[in-house]
Amino acid sequence: MRLSYKWLQELTHTRRSPEKLAELLNMHVASVEGVEDLSQGLDNVVVGEIIKIKPHPRADKLQLAMVKTVVGKKTVLYLVVCGAPNIAVGQKVPLALEGARLADGSKLETCVIRGVKSQGMLCAEDELGIGDDHTGIYILSSGATLGQNMAKTLGLDDIILEIENKSITRRPDLFNHYGFAREIGAITNTELRIKNSELRHRDRRISKPKIRLDINVEDKKLCPRYMAVVMDKIKVGPSPEWMQSRLRSIGLRPINNIVDITNYVMMEFGQPLHVFDKDKISRGIIVRFSKQGEKLRALDGEEYRLSSEDIVIADNKGPIALAGIMGGEASGVNELSKTIIIESANFNPIYVRKTSWRLGLRSDSALRFEKSLPLTFAKIGLLRAIELIRDKSQGSVVSRIYDIKSTETARQLKQIISIDFDCNRARAYIGESKIENKEMTSILKRLGCNVTLVKEKAKVTIPSYRKDLRVFEDLVEEVVRIYGADKIVPAPIVGEMAPSPPTRELVLEKDLKNILAGCGFDEVYNYSFYGADAKNTVKSSGKHISIANPLNADQQYLRRSLIPGLIKNKLKNDSYFSEFKLFEIGNVFEPQERKKIAGLIKSEKQDLKFGNKNIKHFKLQGSSERSEERFLYFAIKGIIELILKQLGIDFEKLNYVRRQSHSIDILLGKTKLGFFDFPSDGIAIFELDFEKLLRFKAKTKIYFPISQYPPIKRDLAFLIDKKVAWGQVKKVIKDIDPLIDEIELFDIYESKRFGDKRNIAFHIVYQSYKRTLKSEEIDKIKKNIVEVLEQEFKAQLRDF
């Protein structure tokens, strides 16, 4: 909302500069987004008077105007080339002289137009920055002072304080100048120039009503208060210059004296008003819900299709206004209007808000009503409007002042709300012992409250316009913000200081991230949303949660897996990196919300290490022929094994179960920890369930004794049937003798000459914890291994 500095000055006694005032409001009332000096930009544009017009010697459509103005105390004449059709001798006009800065920021230079040197320029509305019109020169009133700067003439020698609307959402009483003036008075501890009591006195009875108006508020919940009055002998015309300029300065376009007065009152006291041309209304006024399918062409020229949830003002033919939002075009006031109905009402904020948002029709009126305006504003606004219209002798009241309200409204208007305010409790709440009773009660009084203080306890009566003050804490807020929060001395919390170690979840998440970063994985954050394409790539059969109001179709589902996000990242990074590893830890919706950890490896390298040896010629059983996939298979498995090992989970106990062609489930006992997969060329992915890792994670790693005796390492190689899994072989060997400590595969080799068999080679580490092993013992065990493998798997020992 735009606040006029001059207007605030008129209402208060403030002598603070606009910047100081902005700072004051910022620290005590609301966010000030900016301070704008309106006169900036119209330097060297002055009031001139046309004294002579003659045709341009070389152009049919141009004229030469002799313009008189005053510079210093001297009268000066300028010859100006002008193309506008609406100029005439005797008019006062805006004259831009050399060096003038126009509204669009450009600088005027003297120029020669078709052989005639123009010593300046006459300006249209758009060049002055006060409108969009460019059809003619902006003609000033005859009272304008020659030589005066245009900014001053237009009332633009004002400074605007831009208030962030969001910061006064809960203060409907502040969407106007009077409300802010009251705040300034409270902060600076000064009286306002206009007091509340004066407004009350404006309530003068109308003696002989000529006209009766039928008003029917169908449901008082829609409209708790509806006030209206009829005025006739209206003379519609332009508003006086001062009012036009004031409206312009706060961003409103002057229309005519009647509409301008309603806007002026709204900006002064916060009550939106609407005016109907009575002659355009068929009989009385009805406030009701609209009917499905009803239409209304509003004052903005657009036609709106209404639902059954919109509140409308209607006559017996149909809707004539969208209540609290915008009037209808057909019933609006224009130059021909003679008799008008002024409406000053209070509409249900929820419906106004809903309708305004649904229709995308935001207006100053809706902005105020949807904040829930004080019921008293309706009367203040109506009386002020009558006063302004009468003062300008632009019409007279011919009906009584209607005030239709529900019994609830009547009760609320009479209700006096008081809050007990214990000064000691307030000091404790603030944590500042220095703030005195007197200071606190004085602040509350300055804000319009009535305060009676008995010892430490005050009874605070709340003014009608402060619906936001209902509990003790609300009053503390008022005291603190006027007193100044920055004056409070910080104090440490006094209390029991219990240790709060990080949760197991937090620790595990950090551990996982560190493990993966240590393995060269870069961490990404992805959106929780994806579209149908990604959804279809998720192999799980379960349902996806959809968003009722997605931003777009590509974000309509909540992810069930982190994988589609990683695949998308992969495509994005392909052009910059030939190899990378990515991971994400985040929540998915299955539909239960679960944390997952997923990774992706993109690699072109085809090296594979078992033990300490690089393996070059190896085919993965039953896999496709894509060789890189085999290497990725081991790479991804290596990562999973490392993660589990670091978490203290015995990865030797894992089972891998192939589900679909490439997807392999990872099981620990019967619990599925996750899976890995090769969704396309050159990449491997995995996803693990965070909760399950948390469940199986070792709380503490237990030390395993290290033998004092030297281990003995021997190599063995066998030709063995391809169908025999390495895991089986390993298990059988392990069970042969307790001295076998470790079995480490280091080569696996397939060749046509082996037929159905393959060569596997491994180290066996023999270790005793009691003594140094002798060569003969080892040979004996080795012989045993050879025999067992021959028996079990028909394996043939190979010599090196």
Binding site: H28, A30, S31, T169, R170, P349, I350, R353, A428, Y429, I430, G431, E432, V471, E473, R481, A485, D486, I488, V489, P490, A491, P492, I493, G495, E496, S500, T503, E505, L506, K513, A517, G518, C519, G520, D522, E523, V524, Y525, N526, Y527, S528, K543, H544, I545, S546, I547, N549, L551, L558, G565, N569, K572, L582, N587, F589, P591, Q592, E593, E691
Partner: protein, 363 residues
């Protein structure tokens, strides 16, 4: 005799020091230690002709000098060899890169989360994350934002469409998303718009004193641009106890900001509005970018909004089921993304969810 040996050592070492190449060193070696005519060799050979009492003394001195000369020749030889290599330029291109060691990069937001969490842990806070899908009740109603409240405009919300039984969404972590107090099991489900949605949930589950910090993902239904994201991370902290005051709130926030920026930052509190705190404040810090002289980062005001805070509203305590007036408390919230952007001078929030490794690998 001993003087002679001493002089000999002096000359020999001098010559070694001045030697410019290996050949000279060889000559020096022959001159002093040569089997045939080496000066020192001769002395050693002549020991047997000396007086008996002189022999051990001279012998020991001569041997010491011999060892010393040999060592110096060796040393000088080594240094000459290195020098030659350097001269010929065959030593090392020092600008060649070191061995590439693969290391992953944690997302800058992860790093900031960790930093913030550590500070709050040190201040005695418990760190929680909470659910991303929550009920309208916890996100709004319990926080004193009923249906139709104009403050709902402050948070544009994503709602859940698929009709799912709330029990199905409740997960093992125990965060059931509906209001257990009212019997209506139909509170709409939505993506939390702020981590404040955890306040009443936590308060229902435990008795004060409470010191909790929630760091987690939140969602706003708004179009993305350089400074707006529909997916964001928030830090929420709240403290509930018997005598918590505004002064405590200010103290805690100042401690946090001091630890975070590792310097005494100047702050100011402006009045603000949140339905779930009363009073509410906006905390600004002096712009770290321009030192209060005004720059684009602080919209030329010299101050930057860093967090919102206030004293927990009595209606929130009521929703949590606490007896009236039994406790007071404060709450605050800050955008994690903003802190990340400030710290690393990132000019576009969209980088954070870009998944672009050219970005991630910088941290």
């Amino acid at each position: 005799m001993e003087n002679k040996i001493e002089r000999l050592q002096k000359y020999a070492l001098e010559e070694i020091k001045n030697a410019k190449d290996k050949d000279t060193l060889d000559t020096i070696w022959r001159k002093y230690l040569g089997r045939k005519d080496g000066t020192l060799t001769k002395i050693l050979r002549g020991i047997k002709d000396l007086d008996k009492d002189q022999r051990p003394k001279v012998g020991s001195a001569a041997n010491t000098v011999r060892a010393k000369i040999e060592a110096h020749i060796d040393m000088r030889g080594k240094s000459l060899r290195q020098g030659q290599r350097a001269d010929k330029g065959e030593l090392l291109d020092v600008t060649l890169p070191g061995k590439h060691i693969e290391f992953g990069h944690l997302h800058p937001s992860t790093q900031m989360r960790e930093r913030v969490a550590q500070i709050f842990i040190s201040l005695g806070f418990e760190i929680l994350e909470g659910n991303e899908i929550v009920s309208d009740y916890y996100n709004f109603e319990a926080l004193n934002i009923p249906q139709g409240h104009p403050a709902r405009d402050m948070w544009d919300t994503f709602y859940i469409k698929t009709r799912i039984n709330a029990d199905q969404i409740a997960d093992q972590r125990g965060y059931i998303s509906v209001n257990p107090r009212s019997n209506q099991r139909k509170s709409a489900l939505l993506l939390r718009t702020h981590t404040s949605a955890m306040q009443v949930k936590v308060m229902e589950e435990r008795e004060p004193p409470i010191r909790v910090c929630v760091i987690g993902k939140c969602f706003r239904h708004e179009a993305t641009d350089a400074s707006h994201e529909h997916t964001l991370y928030q830090i929420e902290g709240f403290v509930v106890d018997k005598h918590i005051s505004i002064a405590n709130l200010i103290y805690t926030l100042k401690s946090f900001l001091r630890s975070l920026f590792q310097t005494e930052v100047k702050t100011r509190l402006r009045p603000s509005y949140f339905p779930f705190t009363e009073p509410s404040f906006e905390v600004d810090i002096e712009c770290l970018n321009c030192n209060k002289s005004g720059c684009s980062a602080c919209s030329h005001s010299g101050w930057m909004e860093i967090l919102g805070c206030g004293m927990i509203h009595p209606h929130v305590f009521k929703a949590a089921g606490y007896p009236k007036g039994a406790y007071t408390g404060f709450a605050f919230g800050a955008g994690l993304d903003r802190l990340v952007m400030l710290r690393h001078k990132i000019d576009d929030v969209r980088w954070l969810h870009s998944g672009d490794l050219r970005f991630i690998k910088q941290f």
